[in-house]
Subunit: 213 residues, 2 copies
Amino acid sequence: MTTALPKPKKETRIQREKREVILEAALDVFAVHGLRGATLDKIAAAAGMSKPHVVYYFGSKDAIYTTLLESLLERWLSPLKDLSPDGDPMTEILTYIRRKLQMSRDMARESKLFATEILHGAPRTADTLSGDLKALVDEKAAVIAEWSAQGKLAPLNPHHLIFSIWAMTQHYADFDIQVRAILKPASEDDVFDEAEAFLTTLFSRSLRPEAAE
Amino acid sequence: MTTALPKPKKETRIQREKREVILEAALDVFAVHGLRGATLDKIAAAAGMSKPHVVYYFGSKDAIYTTLLESLLERWLSPLKDLSPDGDPMTEILTYIRRKLQMSRDMARESKLFATEILHGAPRTADTLSGDLKALVDEKAAVIAEWSAQGKLAPLNPHHLIFSIWAMTQHYADFDIQVRAILKPASEDDVFDEAEAFLTTLFSRSLRPEAAE
DNA sequence: TCATTTTTTGACCATTTGGATAGAAATGCA
DNA sequence: TGCATTTCTATCCAAATGGTCAAAAAATGA
């Protein structure tokens, strides 16, 4: 993001493209090897350019990693942001689950990137977690709690409900190796179709207002 | 590693103790930094001995990691192994969930170790996953399916049920940083007590026979 | 066109790190 | 006690790796 103060200096087309190629290649490498396991050589090879060239565009391996994390965060959280207090409660939550599962299917590398980061202590995401992310989750948890209070959903701890949706949907991306080793599915799609049916059943049974005891 | 053929050579007490100290220290380091991020120096420092000494007992960093993985696997899977076809279905499953959650509380480092391993492609666990683990899961899934067929549980894809239990319980160990950043709990225990209540409610509602639609 | 800027890389460097060597200290055993 | 084995570490080495440098090649603009 150009600070625009000394030199607005529009980013050239070639710069935008090269940075994009590097980020794409780095995502591949980081998702498989993690930050420490990824090397500039591997990233450069995956991007089809020399190592100094990669450094020329980003300055350091760490900068690539940080840039990736930041640029993905927005897209990563958008399904939760879209959960609307004005919609039908059950529909809103089931839609959120489906969209999150869809992201595990389409953005498995990104999911693994975040998972590794948090697993290793989130050294460069800690602020976001207890700042923006906490605020977002608290806001949506309040929406869900309100739905429960109005009798539109069975009562269920809303924070843990959100955690459980994260855990279960991301599981299919982060631990895909294990899931596939056990299910031995004919196609990748089978897993996600089954998962969607399972999650829909699980949560609709638990959240139907009559389900309360 | 003595091949044990020419000399059975009973392991001395000091050997057993030192190896134990090293494994304990290595678990600390691997859980935080992953295989690549962990260095022999860090492990040696954590174990309170010199680097060559660590190598003397295990031969290589990789050997320590592999030994850890193997020696933990048994304990890791024991709660699922104990799920008995002869017990009360709902009790068996809720007990399994509670024991698995207990393990996330007491063995967070081990959970992170496995998570990182699988996340990065399970290069040295792939055989176990599609062999012993698959067999175990298939066996227990069959038990659950049978319970459903007998009308003792609401029908629910048993494989995905097991996945969901893994995902949700391990989430509290693997992503503890994120969970704590959002909940800001007064004590660690609060999180797990809430989680146990949540999971019990979620699964008992979904599995009660009447819950089927 | 030709000077200037940007893009690209081969060669190189310093640090980190896994691990080997050799020998010192401790221990066990006759 | 004295020899053999085990335990332990200081030191060193080679490979891997993040990053620099100088200079070539390509693009840009007057």
